[in-house]
């Protein structure tokens, strides 16, 4: 039995647009669950014993809390902003800890080597200083003023630019990226990674986006994001140990890993250990 700190969080369990009348049998925190529609388009998520969980339908996805929600599902105000296109990218299963999937999403230093000529390129490998804080009033991790050179920052980008990012972790298995939006100076494109923990070392990842881009065909937007995420998959499945170490005694984090370190500190403080390794190994 997982702890309350783990069971009282919100988790994505289905993409609403893909959930047919037949429902979806899946897993959450190592236990089987069933996701389907109750009457009138209301999503329903049930444990194996038939017990219904708290659910929400937001950001294109169905969310469930296996315990008692400790707070309301996090808000993404941009999701309701007029003019944005909401992109359901679909699910990808990865044989890794759900926490490693989130941590990788928070990392920019790998762009030149893993997303070569798209999100980064040598020799532009330096990670400048940026700010990270745990915002106590909302209990979220935020990284701001992150700048990185990108050869092709978005599907709509024609050439290389220095892109500014903000990263936000509003729940242990969710990460939200805000990045400068070339067609709309002053606005941020929103790219999220919603991670469903199936087991401690197996997860399903649902990227989702809210973009200002009226020109690129929807399928191209989906494929761009799938390309990026699938480039990460072989990394995520080949990191040792399989679980995310909360003690970095066998690792060498540097200032470029500040967001990763803040994320792990935040997990440690709230006792969120599903998919985590407590001792250095």
């Amino acid at each position: 039995m997982t702890s309350e700190a783990i069971r009282n969080e919100w988790y994505p369990v289905a993409l609403a647009s893909q959930l047919g009348p037949e429902g979806r049998d899946t897993r959450l925190l190592g236990e089987p669950i069933r996701v389907d529609w109750a009457a009138q388009g209301r999503p329903r998520v049930r444990a194996a014993d038939g017990r219904e969980m708290a659910t929400r339908l937001r950001y294109g996805h169905i969310w469930a809390c296996p315990g008692t929600p400790s707070r309301e599902l996090f808000d993404i105000p941009e999701a309701d902003q007029p003019g944005r296109r909401l992109v359901d990218v679909g699910v990808v299963r990865v044989k890794c800890s759900p926490l490693r999937a989130v941590e990788n999403f928070l990392d920019i230093a790998h762009f030149p080597f893993v997303h070569t000529d798209i999100l980064g390129a040598e020799p532009h490998t330096e990670v400048g200083k940026y700010d990270v804080a745990i915002r106590e009033e909302v209990d979220e991790v935020w990284a701001t003023k992150v700048h990185f050179y990108q050869p092709q920052a978005a599907k709509s980008a024609a050439g290389g630019i220095t892109t500014e990012y903000m990263y936000r972790v509003p729940a242990p298995t969710v990460s939200i990226l805000y990045k400068t939006c070339p067609p709309r100076p002053g606005e941020w494109d929103v790219i999220t990674l919603f991670v469903q923990p199936l087991e401690e070392n197996l997860c399903e990842v649902w990227p989702w986006m809210a973009l200002f881009d009226d020109e690129t065909p929807m399928t191209d937007l989906i494929h761009f994001q799938q390309t990026i995420f699938l480039q990460d998959r072989s990394i995520l499945e080949n990191q040792l140990p399989r679980l995310l170490p909360l003690d970095p005694g066998m690792e060498i984090p540097t200032r470029a890993d500040l967001t990763s370190v803040a994320y792990r500190r935040w997990l440690k403080r709230r006792g969120y250990t599903y998919g985590a390794q407590l001792v250095a190994a």
Partner: protein, 204 residues
């Protein structure tokens, strides 16, 4: 204790691959100048397997964040911090790697004796078998342990055996046979041997 992990010619310059020796997972690689090395298959930075990395010149780099490591396993470069000269203390755990008779051998620390030399033979191929070492060797009718000798497909062979697990091993096969037809026949015989071993066939 030396373990054979590959045929030398299967690891030309700039190649890196994962191997298992003595129960440890290693990244085996050869530098541009031809130096062979076997390291713990894990980047000290964030634990990515170094066997997924890439070789430039005399250094092995991690595919994840590009940290690169020189001959002694010492960190040479951290791309996210290009002005930093990494200290000698940031190191990958290094094993000993040596070559003899067309084979690459590794050991956790320098053994007293050099690796066994099979003599002047030609490398044929390596193949992994999902069966235990002893069962495979006895089925093949080969004598010896680390370097087993005998005849297969009518030609003389020397097989360097790499135990990988209780029911898995790799055979690194050398032969005196020089003709193409003989070598092809031997290669096919090895596939047949593997099929028999994996089907659970025992030596008569």
């Amino acid at each position: 204790m030396w373990t054979p992990v590959a045929l030398s010619r299967d690891v030309p310059p700039l190649v890196v691959l994962p191997v298992v020796a003595g129960g440890r997972e290693l990244a085996l690689w050869r530098s541009a100048s031809g130096r062979i090395a076997a390291w713990a298959d894990r980047c000290p930075h964030r634990g990515m397997r170094l066997s997924h990395g890439f070789v430039r010149g005399e250094a092995l780099s991690c595919i994840y964040h590009g940290w690169s490591y020189g001959a002694a396993g010492n960190c040479l470069r951290i791309p996210a911090h290009p002005d930093l000269e990494p200290p000698e203390t940031i190191r990958v755990a290094v094993h000993v790697a040596a070559e003899a008779g067309g084979l690459i051998w590794v050991a956790p620390s320098a053994p007293e004796a050099p690796p066994p030399d099979p003599g002047a033979l030609q490398p044929l191929r390596s193949l992994t078998v999902e069966a235990g070492t002893a069962a495979v060797l006895s089925l093949a009718g080969l004598a010896g342990d680390t370097l087993a000798r005998g005849h297969l497909a009518g030609v003389e062979v020397t097989v360097a055996v790499q135990p990988i697990g209780p029911a898995r091993c790799a055979l690194h096969v050398l032969t005196g046979a020089a003709g193409a037809a003989e070598r092809i026949a031997l290669s096919r015989e090895l596939d047949a041997l593997r099929r028999r071993a994996e089907a659970g066939e025992m030596a008569a």
